[in-house]
Structure formats: structure tokens, C-alpha cells
């Protein structure tokens, strides 16, 4: 009998293709948008996490001032690091793959008539190791160049493109501020970062060169450290914090005037943001699912009124209340499930299009697809129940007399 009821419902749906498709439109749009939002959002989150990890997973950044989540930037009065801080870390902390003191500033890179606004970063060869940079051509700095603060540089792929085109720049010179600087190497391109900045737009120079001839100060603005594979960044982070507290004479109960953060923390913060956005967009889309449900209820109610005579005939012929109830309920559920399925297909298609447009990976979240489907079925039950009950409780005599 249950099967028969499903069959009756299916026949009824088939007989009213136009009305049925209008009924499910809301559900289709709702499910499709939930799936699109969540899938593209997941892709974006994955992309951000991936790009950050391309910086180096074992990376630990040390900045003067407090947590970057606070008022931001260096707290006034927090002293900058010195090269000796970096040396102390390299000497006293075990399990490190590299320690790169970093300083820098924005400037113009000039070659002939071309110039390009970029950033000069002063550091050591450890910078390459710590930040996962490899060379496309040329070489790293020599110890002599580092010690002497020679006018040499390794340039990012963007600058090379802007100033040299397809030409190999190794051996040529560019002007940075007042100094003429020889290009000894070119970095392999990394592309855009997850935050939309161009990672390849910078020039690396020996730290001493930048301190003496560009910035004119012996401060360093941050220290980039990477832990050896298999070494816990948590432990390294704690060790560095202890060492720096000591060196900066931070009191026992005093908050430190520097911040050590590892990549995990950065990944968490940034993916947290995109995840929040995904949830928000998903929630907005879910509201449209709800609206779709109300659409189903509306059309089912109209359908009950329109089919009053039919219901009267069925009741008079011997249909029981629960059979009429089931018929209408199943009709609503079959419709909404069908809408859910179409929505899933459209949603995946839209997500695939969106992912390729935004250049994020397409990650199908089976969980959300299942949830969207179950939810659309539930919408059918919830919003189909009221009209179905109304149909089942009709008086057959009255219903038969209905025009």
C-alpha cells in the first residue's frame, strides 16, 4: 500500500510537470547556493592554507611589539631586535634549520629608463632556507659579500620581468636608492599569495648592505626562524620566548614586548577567517532553502484547494485519512528530494565554475551535499505536512461538491 501511495504521488507529479517544476525551484536554488558557497569557500580555505604552508611549514616569525592581533604594529617603546639577538637564537636554541635576521624598506628599483616600486629585504642566505625560496638562476651571496655588505642582490621574478623582460639579469646591475647593485641571482616565481599580494616582488640584499647603505640603522625588524623537520615548533617557540625574555630583561609577571608566532598560528587565523566567511555565506544560502520550503508549502496548499474534488473522490471511494495524508506528504517529499538532487547537480557545476574562476581548488564536501539533500527532504516533510493534513481532513461530501 505504501508503494502504491508513492506511485500515486509520482503519477500526480508527472501529470503536472509545470507546477511541479515551479514548486521545486526554490529548493533547487537553495540547495545549489548552499553547495556552491560551501564548496568554493572550502576551496578558498584550502588555498590559503596551502599558500601559507608554501612559505615553509616550520617557519617561526619573531616580531618586536605585541601580538599582531592587538592594536597592530610595533608597540611604541618596544625596542627593535639587534643582530646579536639573532645570533643568540642561532647559538642557543637547538633544532633550528635556519635563522634569518630581516630588515627592509620599500624603494624604487631602476634600470635605464625603467623603474619599479618594490621592497628591499636585507637578510642572510638562511632567508632562502627559512622562506622556501629557490633560485631560477645565479647564486646565493658569498660569505665575503655578506660580511662586507657588498652591493649585490638576488631579485624576485616580478622585478626581473619588469626590468629585464626575458633576458637573464645575472651579472647586470640595477640602481636601488643611491647604490648601484649587481644582480647575482633570480628567485624562482611563487606567484600570488592567499592574501592577494605578489610574493615575487622583492629584492634580497645582504643584511649588512641594507643596514649600512639603505636604512642607515643597525636594527633588525624581525627574525625569521625555521625548525628542523620533525622538531616541534611549539617547543622551539617556547625556547625562543624564554631566551628573548631573558635577553630583553622582561619581568616575571610582565607581558613580553615581542611576539613569536609559528605558521600553525597564522594558518589558523587566516583559514579561520575564510571559514567564518564560508559559514556565513552558507547560512545565507540556507535561508533561501527555508524560503524554498515555504514555496513548497504555498504551492502544495494551492494544490490541495485545486484538487479538492479529487481528494473528495478518493475519500468517497475508500481512501483512509492517512492514505491521503501520505499521498500529499510523499508528493511534497518526492518533489523536494527531486529539487534537492537537481540543486546538488547545479551546485556542483556552479562550484566548479566558481572554483576555476577564482583559481581555488574544487573540493567536494560530501558532508554538506548529504546535509543539503537530507535538509531538502526534511523541508518536504515539514512544509508538506500542513497541506497534506488539510487534504486528509476534508469532508468527502463537501469536497465532492467543490467546483
Amino acid at each position: 500500500m505504501f508503494l502504491e501511495t508513492i506511485l500515486i504521488a509520482m503519477c500526480e507529479i508527472r501529470r503536472n510537470v509545470m507546477r511541479s517544476s515551479l514548486t521545486i525551484l526554490g529548493i533547487v536554488i537553495g540547495v545549489a547556493s548552499v553547495i556552491t558557497m560551501v564548496t568554493v569557500g572550502d576551496g578558498a580555505t584550502k588555498q590559503v592554507a596551502y599558500e601559507i604552508s608554501s612559505l615553509g611549514t616550520n617557519l617561526i616569525d619573531i616580531h618586536p611589539g605585541q601580538s599582531f592581533r592587538g592594536s597592530g604594529g610595533t608597540r611604541s617603546g618596544a625596542p627593535m631586535f639587534k643582530i646579536t639577538d639573532a645570533e643568540a637564537i642561532a647559538r642557543d636554541i637547538s633544532g633550528l634549520a635556519g635563522v634569518a635576521p630581516v630588515t627592509g624598506r620599500g624603494t624604487q628599483a631602476i634600470r635605464g629608463n625603467d623603474n619599479w616600486a618594490t621592497i628591499i629585504t636585507g637578510s642572510t642566505n638562511d632567508y632562502l632556507k627559512v622562506r622556501n625560496w629557490t633560485l631560477a638562476s645565479g647564486r646565493q651571496f658569498t660569505d665575503g659579500e655578506l660580511r662586507a655588505g657588498a652591493a649585490v642582490c638576488i631579485i624576485g621574478a616580478t622585478i626581473r620581468k619588469q626590468l629585464f623582460g626575458e633576458q637573464d639579469p645575472v651579472g647586470y646591475t640595477i640602481r636601488l636608492e643611491k647604490i648601484s647593485c649587481q644582480v647575482v641571482g633570480v628567485f624562482k616565481a611563487k606567484g600570488q599569495s592567499g592574501f592577494g599580494t605578489d610574493q615575487d616582488d622583492f629584492v634580497l640584499m645582504p643584511l649588512r648592505t641594507v643596514q649600512r647603505r639603505i636604512v642607515g640603522k643597525s636594527d633588525i625588524s624581525s627574525i625569521a626562524v625555521s625548525a628542523q623537520d620533525g622538531v616541534s615548533t611549539e617547543k622551539v617557540k617556547a625556547d625562543i620566548e624564554r631566551l628573548l625574555r631573558e635577553r630583553r630583561k622582561t619581568g616575571k609577571n610582565e607581558e613580553e614586548d615581542f611576539h613569536v608566532r609559528d605558521m600553525q598560528e597564522i594558518v589558523k587565523t587566516l583559514t579561520g577567517t575564510t571559514r567564518l566567511l564560508t559559514t556565513l555565506l552558507g547560512a545565507v544560502a540556507a535561508v533561501s532553502l527555508l524560503v524554498g520550503g515555504i514555496g513548497i508549502m504555498n504551492i502544495m496548499l494551492v494544490s490541495v484547494t485545486e484538487r479538492t474534488r479529487e481528494i473528495g473522490i478518493r475519500l468517497a471511494i475508500g481512501a483512509m485519512e492517512k492514505q491521503v495524508l501520505m499521498q500529499f506528504l510523499i508528493e511534497a517529499v518526492v518533489l523536494s528530494c527531486f529539487g534537492g538532487l537537481i540543486g546538488i547537480i547545479l551546485g556542483i557545476a556552479a562550484a566548479a565554475a566558481g572554483a576555476s574562476a577564482l583559481k581555488v581548488p574544487l573540493i567536494l564536501n560530501i558532508g554538506i551535499i548529504v546535509i543539503a539533500f537530507v535538509f531538502s527532504a526534511a523541508v518536504g516533510v515539514v512544509f508538506g505536512y500542513f497541506p497534506a493534513r488539510k487534504a486528509a481532513l476534508l469532508d468527502p461530501i463537501e469536497a465532492l461538491r467543490h467546483e
Partner: protein, 245 residues
């Protein structure tokens, strides 16, 4: 499920009304449609119900057909007091024992003649293949072979009425109720329908209760019950030639 005492012999009462009243509405707006009806219809009878408009014929039919219950008095269907049954129990009675030919056809639109006739069998749980076969036979019995796939919109009034009759008799009901079955047909079509009804009554032993305004149609019945203002005015045996075969 309720199991009424199965019909025994040819002249046991199938339907029995005792002092049945039916009052619509309450208070000053109350309309007394039936004011004490006593009626007994035996197995195999063919009763025509006549009377002026508003005299309570349809109201009485609805009660007899277990679609409605009396306000007071007792209605027994095969010995079972219908007024004490639930809505669903009455639905089961209708499903298993009764057939209806409604005024104005009342077929399902956009549904083929065959599917319309299958409908009562679906609720009886008859398997699909058997159902199809029975529906085909019922359509053939009303002279509609070849029209199975036509929808009501594609059928004439007489054909629609015959589909409605096929639907009413497909499950071999014990009692067939027909409220003005020829109401919107011309006299030739009406006579065809009446021939059919007479055949079902005579050959299959189906008890028939039929409302009609037309004394020509009533002459096909064995008995005529005349209503007047909610009471039975007159009951007469019909010696009409149509019953003699």
C-alpha cells in the same frame, strides 16, 4: 476492520434506516434535512429515490453511502450501526462494499479512463496486473473497449458517465449508489445507462439505490421511494415492464 454479517439469502436487509434525522447547522440557522426516515432495502433490490428539490434525497444517499452519519436515529449497514464507526472505518466500508456514481461524473481530470476505473482497486490493494485486467473488463462491460487511454476531456458526457459506472462496479460492490446518474444526459444516452444499471442489478445481483427526477428512469427500478420535506411520502412497488424479462 469491521466485518458485517455477510448477506444471506436474497431478501435480507442490507440497508436499514430507523427514525433517521439529519440536521445541518445549529441554533436558529438549523436546517432539518431529514426528519425521521424509516427505510429498509433488501439484497438485490433496485430502488429509485424521487422527490422535489431540497426534499433530502442527497442527504439520505450520503448517509446510506456511509459518507455521512445521522444526527439521530439508527442506520445499519448489513447489521452494523454506521453512526458508531470512525471516519476510517466508514472509509473501509465504502472501499469494500459500496460503489458510487456521483452526480456530474466526478472523474479525475488528466487521468485516463483505465486509471480512473483502477482507482478503487488501488485502495483495495489489488496487484497492478490484476487491477488492469479488472478495469479493462469493467470498461468493456459498459461498452467502452478501445477508450481506455482517453482522458475525461476526450470523452462525451455519456462516455464519461459510463466510465464513472465502470469505476463504481469494478470492485464488484454489494450496493451501488447513483445520485442522478443521468442528470446531464439526453434521453437516448439515459436509457443506455439505465439498461446497464438494470443488467448489473439482474446479472450480478448488485443492490442499487438511485436518485432521479425523471419518472422514465425511475420506471427501470423495482421500487420507488418518494421524498417530501425530509420524510418519506410514499413507497411503491414498480410493476413496470422494464423489470420483467
Amino acid at each position: 476492520m469491521i466485518t458485517p454479517a455477510s448477506g444471506t439469502g436474497n431478501m435480507s436487509p442490507v440497508l436499514e434506516l430507523n427514525g433517521v434525522t439529519r440536521i445541518y447547522g445549529t441554533g436558529t440557522a438549523a436546517v432539518s434535512a431529514l426528519q425521521g426516515i424509516d427505510l429498509r432495502i433488501d439484497h438485490g433490490d433496485f430502488v429509485a429515490v424521487m422527490g422535489p428539490s431540497g426534499s433530502g434525497k442527497s442527504t439520505c444517499m450520503n448517509i446510506l453511502g456511509c459518507l455521512d452519519t445521522p444526527s439521530s436515529g439508527i442506520y445499519r449497514f448489513k447489521g452494523v450501526e454506521v453512526g458508531k464507526l470512525s471516519r476510517d472505518q466508514r472509509a473501509l466500508l465504502r472501499r469494500h462494499y459500496l460503489g458510487f456514481v456521483f452526480q456530474g461524473f466526478n472523474l479525475l481530470n488528466r487521468t485516463s479512463a483505465l486509471e480512473n476505473v483502477e482507482l478503487p482497486l488501488i485502495y483495495r490493494g489489488t496487484p497492478a496486473a490484476e487491477r488492469r485486467e479488472m478495469a479493462r473488463k469493467a470498461l468493456a462491460a459498459v461498452g467502452l473497449n478501445g477508450w481506455e487511454t482517453h482522458t475525461p476531456a476526450e470523452l462525451s458526457g455519456g462516455q464519461q458517465q459510463r466510465v464513472a459506472i465502470a469505476r463504481a462496479i469494478v470492485a464488484s460492490p454489494e450496493v451501488l449508489f447513483a445520485d442522478e446518474p443521468t442528470g446531464n444526459l439526453d434521453s437516448a444516452r439515459s436509457r443506455e445507462i439505465m439498461e446497464l444499471m438494470t443488467d448489473f442489478n439482474r446479472d450480478r445481483g448488485i443492490t442499487i439505490v438511485m436518485v432521479t427526477h425523471d419518472s422514465d428512469m425511475a420506471s427501470y427500478a423495482r421500487r420507488i421511494v418518494r421524498f417530501m420535506d425530509g420524510i418519506i411520502d410514499k413507497e411503491e412497488q414498480n410493476g413496470g415492464a422494464n423489470n420483467v424479462s
